[in-house]
């Protein structure tokens, strides 16, 4: 116990390697301070920027490397490897007769409007896919024994003949009986030691041969790249004198060990976005909000996820390496736990244009950071959302990008005038309309996301972060009829804080499909025993001898015959036939919430049994040592004109966010400016700074059921 307290009083570093920037955050528990650093990512060897960033942070904080007990890491390396197709040469050993399953996929066209759309190229080409005899049936029985000689011959051909660098093994029904895959792995390992091998039953033990095989192949594809990178990082950190633990952020928002990350790199795909959601969940807890829509808007995209009772929603399907980032089906499907998040092409850099009908469209194309919005003066000529923010007063030209850049306003106005000509309206309307449409795009996506879960946005608070999130939060909240907006302190760099507050976690699943009434509860108990033992073993590696594991069990359920499951939390305590009624009741409740009706004659069925095991850690209090914090500075900066949706142009008071003390209350219209972002609210708002420096904005709506609502 003393050891634990000591650990808590030392330093933790979070590192997020993004496509453009590497963000670092250091939390010094002893001094209760938090510092951040930002460097350009070094794509050739991302560990360069990591090491350099750690050095800098330690120097500015005056902390020695030996005081750092944990380094939590997230990276886009895997996402980029898939997008750029720079992974390993992978071979696949499949069940004889089924080697093409990986390439056939779901046999549908993801864009039915485009006669010429092609699917994402297959990750293991046909000549590197070999079928071997051996067959497990749906009831887990062995029908045909595995042909061991054929396995060895296939491996020989792939490794010696074709030079594959990693191997995936995916046999039919291995989710029910993984023995053939395991035998095959041992056989290949004995002949080809050192060859990374991914088993479909390890990576995604769920029914569905295509998705399971795809997940195994993607895991194999990224494994050598990730392994080499993590080895290098470990060695570099050791050279720096680091003796603590390296933990990796999972796509589901939990933390995992270095060894498990190397074995299952596919689980790390979405670590960056997950960190943002975890940070939002943590702050939602501090702010006492049970139901929050986390809204993260950056330069290119907006991401929305749900946080309920302090936990972000997790889903078990994901698609990586999309040909078209915003078209579902254009990528590689994966069965892996990720924070359930929608991402749409709506960011500060999203381009406004006229479509064939002469209507205004915004995004999904983005000017990115190069050339960027017209205002950047870096050659961008097409008006963007950020440009519209400037013209409408949402961003201050004199404090643009923290005052580091003076925007070329005449050029911005010119770009909108040019577009306005094609739309038959004036430039001011075009700029205003750009914001209206980007808001509508985000609102539509959010409504759809909530509707799929049977949720109503009006019951949620909106937590806005990312550089552009707070800027557009008020308009989005109004469109969704959300009553409360929360803008956390340091909203522009919030994601990195997620690394400091995440808990070690293990997500596991077993595919066993059965009607609830006919479930073999002994078998279910065994499945959970197996998963819990495995999880405990993994978690104890992160904190030896721990007894604090929190287990959450859930089941994917549907009515027999349906193709779509909903996830239902399982009752606590031992599962047995006597709990079946309780499970059925919980399912009916969830089903009715989502679909507005139940089916009394339907037969509830479970398809997958899931376990989430976490190791709750003490959460550091994140008092953000913002570089711009000025104690005692006057909060009121002045006034300026801002176009507020629904109210037209308002004269708004402009506040320096950093100078507002907890308890400060401000009535709208008002603008809150901070280093990385800005937030304007309408006259129907009251904003309060809470004890954690969050800005809590309450919107007053006219009474909904009053007469004359049509007026």
């Amino acid at each position: 116990m003393t050891e634990h307290i000591a650990a808590r009083l030392s330093c933790t570093i979070g590192v997020d390697v993004g496509g453009t920037f590497t963000d670092l955050v250091l939390h010094d528990a002893g001094r209760a301070t938090t510092r951040t650093a930002k460097l350009l990512t070094t794509p050739g060897d991302p560990s360069h920027a990591v090491i350099e960033g750690v050095r800098r942070l330690l120097a500015t904080a005056g902390v020695g490397i030996e005081q750092v007990t944990t380094l939590v890491h997230g990276t886009t390396l895997i996402t980029n490897t898939l997008l750029e197709r720079t992974g390993a040469k992978v071979g696949l050993i499949a069940t004889e007769g089924f080697r093409d399953v990986l390439e056939m996929g779901r046999e549908i066209r993801y864009d039915t409007d485009d006669l010429y759309a092609r699917p994402a190229p297959v990750i293991v080409p046909r000549h590197l896919r070999i079928g071997v005899p051996g067959r497990i049936t749906a009831d887990a029985a062995e029908l045909v024994p595995l042909d061991e000689a054929a396995v060895l011959e296939a491996a020989r051909e792939l490794v010696d003949g074709h030079g594959v660098e990693a191997l995936a093994i995916a046999f039919l029904h291995s989710y029910a009986n993984p023995s053939h895959e395991r035998i095959a792995r041992e056989l290949v390992r004995s002949r080809h030691p050192g060859l990374p091998i991914s088993l479909s039953a390890d990576v995604a033990p769920e029914i569905g041969e295509y998705e399971r095989t795809s997940t195994a192949c993607v895991n194999a594809y990224v494994q050598p790249v990730v392994g080499a990178y993590l080895d290098r990082l470990e060695a570099d950190l050791a050279r720096l004198g680091f003796t603590g633990t390296i933990a990796l952020m999972l796509s589901s928002g939990g933390l995992t060990t270095l060894a498990r990350a190397k074995a299952l790199p596919v689980g790390l795909l979405e670590s960056g976005p997950a960190a943002g959601a975890i940070a939002a969940a943590h702050l939602a807890g501090l702010a006492g909000e049970d139901r929050v829509i986390a809204f993260d808007m950056g330069g290119t995209t907006a991401k929305m996820s749900l946080v309920e009772h302090g936990l972000p929603h997790v889903t078990h399907e994901f698609e990586a390496g999309r040909l078209d980032r915003f078209k579902p089906g254009s990528g590689l499907p994966l069965k892996t736990a990720v924070i359930d998040m929608i991402e749409i092409g709506a960011g500060g850099g999203s381009i406004a244009s006229a479509d064939g009908f002469g209507l205004l469209k915004v995004g999904p194309r983005s000017a990115g950071s190069v050339p960027g919005p017209v205002a950047y003066g870096r050659g961008g000529t097409r008006p963007t959302v950020t440009d519209a923010d400037l013209l409408t007063g949402h961003l201050d030209p004199d404090h643009f990008l923290g005052g580091e850049l003076t925007p070329t306003l005449p050029r911005v106005r010119g770009a909108f005038e040019e577009l306005a000509g094609r739309l038959g309206v004036d430039a001011a309307r075009t700029a205003d309309g750009t914001l209206e449409i980007v808001t509508e795009n985000m609102a539509a996506a959010t409504r759809m996301h909530l509707s799929e879960k049977g949720r109503d946005p009006r019951a949620y608070a909106l937590m806005a972060f990312g550089g552009a999130g707070p800027v557009h939060a008020y308009a989005l909240a109004k469109s969704l009829k959300v009553r409360r907006v929360i803008v956390p302190m340091g909203a522009g760099v919030l994601s990195a804080f997620g690394f400091l507050v995440a808990d070690p976690a293990v997500e596991d699943v077993r595919g066993y499909a059965t009607p609830v009434a006919a479930a073999d509860w002994t078998k279910v108990g065994e499945l959970y025993e197996e998963m819990e033992e495995h999880a405990a073993a993994l978690l104890s590696r992160m904190e030896p001898g721990t007894a604090r594991i929190v287990r959450t069990r859930s089941a994917d359920m549907r009515y027999l015959g349906q193709g779509h499951e909903i996830t239902v939390p399982l009752p606590d305590g031992p599962l047995s036939g006597s709990r079946a009624g309780e499970l059925r009741r919980r399912f009916t409740e969830r089903y009715t919430a989502v679909f507005g009706r139940e089916l009394p004659e339907g037969t509830p069925e479970v398809t997958n049994w899931r376990l989430t095991a976490t190791l709750p850690t003490a959460r550091p209090s994140l008092v953000h040592a913002s570089p711009g914090q000025r104690a005692g500075a006057a909060p009121l900066r002045g006034r300026r004109s801002v176009r507020i949706p629904g109210f037209g142009v308002c004269e708004a008071a402009v506040y320096d966010r950093d100078a507002l003390a907890p308890g400060a209350t401000v009535a709208g219209p008002a603008v809150f400016e901070e280093h990385e972002t800005s937030c304007a609210v309408g006259p129907d708002c009251t904003a309060v700074v809470d004890a954690h420096h969050n800005l809590i904005i309450d919107i007053d709506y006219p009474h909904p059921r009053s007469e004359g609502a049509t007026g």
């Binding site: 004889e96 007769g97 089924f98 093409d100 399953v101 390439e103 056939m104 779901r106 046999e107 549908i108 066209r109 039915t112 409007d113 006669l115 010429y116 699917p119 046909r126 000549h127 049936t137 749906a138 029908l143 003949g161 074709h162 029904h173 029914i207 569905g208 041969e209 295509y210 009908f357 002469g358 209507l359 205004l360 469209k361 739309l423 038959g424 309206v425 309307r429 075009t430 309309g433 209206e436 449409i437 509508e440 795009n441 539509a444 409504r447 759809m448 509707s451 799929e452 499909a513 015959g561 349906q562 193709g563 779509h564 679909f595 507005g596 009706r597 089916l599 004659e601 339907g602 049509t710």
Partner: protein, 573 residues
């Protein structure tokens, strides 16, 4: 014709709604039906809705004209719900609709062409006034009757539901419900699917009313007029870009035993209008392959739209500039009560007919015939080990036709978007053992661009009871044809391991311990094989998509390296 075509569409600045307002409203309309469609898909029971995407959802104005159509599902069906609703308004005039009403019908002549498709229409009220309709159609898993090709009239194909109220004032019509449930084999599933449709309507209704509330409009009248005008204009502009002329194609298909199907297509481009006429096509037959004029229209207009004006939002206005006709009594416009259950076997051919007709005038856009037009479906039915009845449909795809810019996609659904399910899931629910599901070597039609490959699926009966196998397809005598000099793909085929080869529209038996192999057709090639890049031939050889023998035959002896063509990475001599 309720609408006049617009002479002089108002210029942008004269529109009552500007370029921002209209975009916001139009995109919200689209979101309403997309959300409703998602609800239908997620709540549906039947694998048919789920895996073959056999459904549509629309929002209409009070006159029954679609203002928003779901993009998912079968987009070709959306317009039919509009014509159906206009027909219903003749039976049930606007003043007779109440909040909470739901009318259903499966009349193939006024809905989507066969009895298993149940169409549903319900009113949308806002502040007490009828402001529009929600509509949908979905394929339920059973509708009674004898679902084989052997029947000779509609009544034998199942329960016929004329337009009736399933709900009136929000209360279920228990007599209709009881009659329906008593006449189908899978009442729980059928009812579950109807409930899913109703859930989708509820979402559509609620969201539509919310939209009106938000934009402060009393109804969809103005918005409807504007989007119809713009979509109509979009279609017309696309048609005007095609040179005027009369373009023809004709094609043949297996049809049913002894009655091959002949399609004669005359496509007339005249300014901003296209007329498609099928005079000269086969007369209607006494088997279930007749396609009602509704279905004929849907499967003619939609391929045209995809060729000429893809990607724009569709609604009632999108189709005004296109007319479709076929002689009464023909296989493309049969007279009641002709059997129509397998109408896709004829209707899916029309996309080939439209592309072939436009091959000379739009050579860079058209596709060669696809092996999956029409789709081949296989149903397995019998009793499992416990003696309980089971039925399972095998969804699998043939090869797509090639086009000027690329090879056809292998094993990809077209013109439908019915994907394939999981073999593991099928084996978990039915006593079947799959031995193989692989690309079918040499099945893609040779050409400058190769047709997509079909697949071979081998299924064994591992149990002790016989399994009934219902094959429903075409293309055994008539492969998918190439275009612009491309060769045809391989025809479809089925064979038991004892050598029997059942016709592709037949019932046969899979005895215990035996297996059947079903070979799905390949797509047609595009352009002469001599024009194919040798590197593409080499890549096909290396992947085993074509054999050296076929490469020599189709692409010449020079196409195959002296070795066997399967060497890896080493330079060819």
């Amino acid at each position: 014709m309720p609408d006049r075509t617009l002479q002089g569409e108002p210029a942008a600045h004269e529109r009552p709604l500007d370029a921002v307002h209209l975009e916001v409203r139009w995109s919200r309309l689209a979101a309403v039906v997309d959300e409703a469609a998602t609800t239908l898909l997620r709540a549906a029971f039947s694998t048919i809705i789920r895996e073959s995407n056999d459904y549509t959802v629309v929002l209409m104005d009070p006159a029954g004209r679609t203002v928003a159509e779901s993009r998912a599902g079968i987009p070709a069906f959306a317009a039919l719900i509009g014509t159906l609703t206009r027909h219903l308004l003749e039976i049930f005039p606007a003043g007779t609709w109440h909040e909470g009403d739901v009318v259903i019908t499966n009349d193939p002549w006024i809905a989507t062409g066969h009895l298993p498709d149940i169409a549903m229409v319900s009113p949308v009220f806002h502040h007490g006034a009828l402001v529009g309709f929600a509509g949908s159609a979905a394929h339920v898993p059973d509708i009674g009757g004898n679902p084989t090709l052997g029947v000779t009239d509609l009544m034998a194909e199942g329960l016929f539901i004329p337009p009736v109220h399933l709900y009136r004032d929000g209360t279920r019509n228990e007599s209709v419900a009881a009659l329906l449930r008593a006449n189908v084999r899978l009442p729980v599933q059928v009812w579950g699917d109807l409930e899913a449709q109703a859930a989708a309507h509820e979402v559509c209704r609620r969201r539509a009313a919310e939209l009106l509330e938000d934009i402060g409009e009393p109804d969809f009248g103005e918005l409807s007029r504007l989007v119809h005008t713009m979509s109509d204009r979009s279609t017309r502009a696309a048609i005007a870009a095609v040179p005027d002329g009369v373009y023809r194609s004709s094609l043949d298909a297996d049809g049913v035993e002894g009655r091959p199907t002949h399609i004669e297509c005359t496509l007339t481009v005249d300014g901003e209008h296209i007329a498609i006429d099928y005079t000269g096509s086969s007369p209607q037959v006494g088997y279930a392959v007749n396609s009602t004029l509704n279905y004929t229209t849907a499967y003619s207009v939609h391929p045209l739209k995809l060729l000429l004006d893809p990607g724009t939002r569709t609604n009632h206005g999108s189709y005004r500039a296109i007319t479709v006709s076929a002689p009464e009594g023909s296989i493309l416009n049969p007279v009641f009560p002709a059997p129509v259950l397998a109408r896709h076997l004829t209707g899916h051919l029309l996309s080939c007919a439209v592309h072939q007709a436009l091959a000379d005038v739009l050579p860079d856009r058209v596709l060669a015939d696809s092996g999956g037009a029409p789709a081949l479906r296989v149903q397995f039915a019998g009793r499992d080990e416990a003696g309980d009845p089971f039925a399972a449909i095998l969804f699998a795809s043939a090869g797509m036709g090639a086009c000027a810019r690329q090879d056809g996609l292998s094993t990809t659904a077209f013109p439908t978007n019915s994907g394939s399910g999981s073999i593991e899931a099928l084996e978990a629910t039915a006593p079947l053992l799959f031995r193989r599901k692989e690309f079918r070597t040499d099945s893609g039609g040779a050409g400058t661009r190769r047709g997509g490959l079909g697949q071979d699926i081998e299924v064994a009966n591992p149990g002790k009871a016989p399994i009934r196998v219902a094959l429903l397809g075409d293309r055994s005598q008539h492969p998918a044809l190439g275009i612009a000099g491309g060769l045809p793909g391989a025809p479809a085929h089925a064979a038991y391991d004892d050598g029997r080869t059942p016709p592709l529209t037949s019932l046969s038996t899979l005895e215990p311990g035996t297996a059947i192999t079903i070979s799905f057709a390949g797509g047609g090639g595009y352009g002469p094989p001599s024009g194919r890049d040798p590197a593409a031939v080499a890549a096909d050889l290396r992947a085993g998509l074509i054999t050296p023998a076929a490469a020599r035959r189709d692409y010449g002896t020079g196409a195959v390296p002296a070795a066997d063509g399967t060497n890896d990475g080493k330079p060819n001599p």
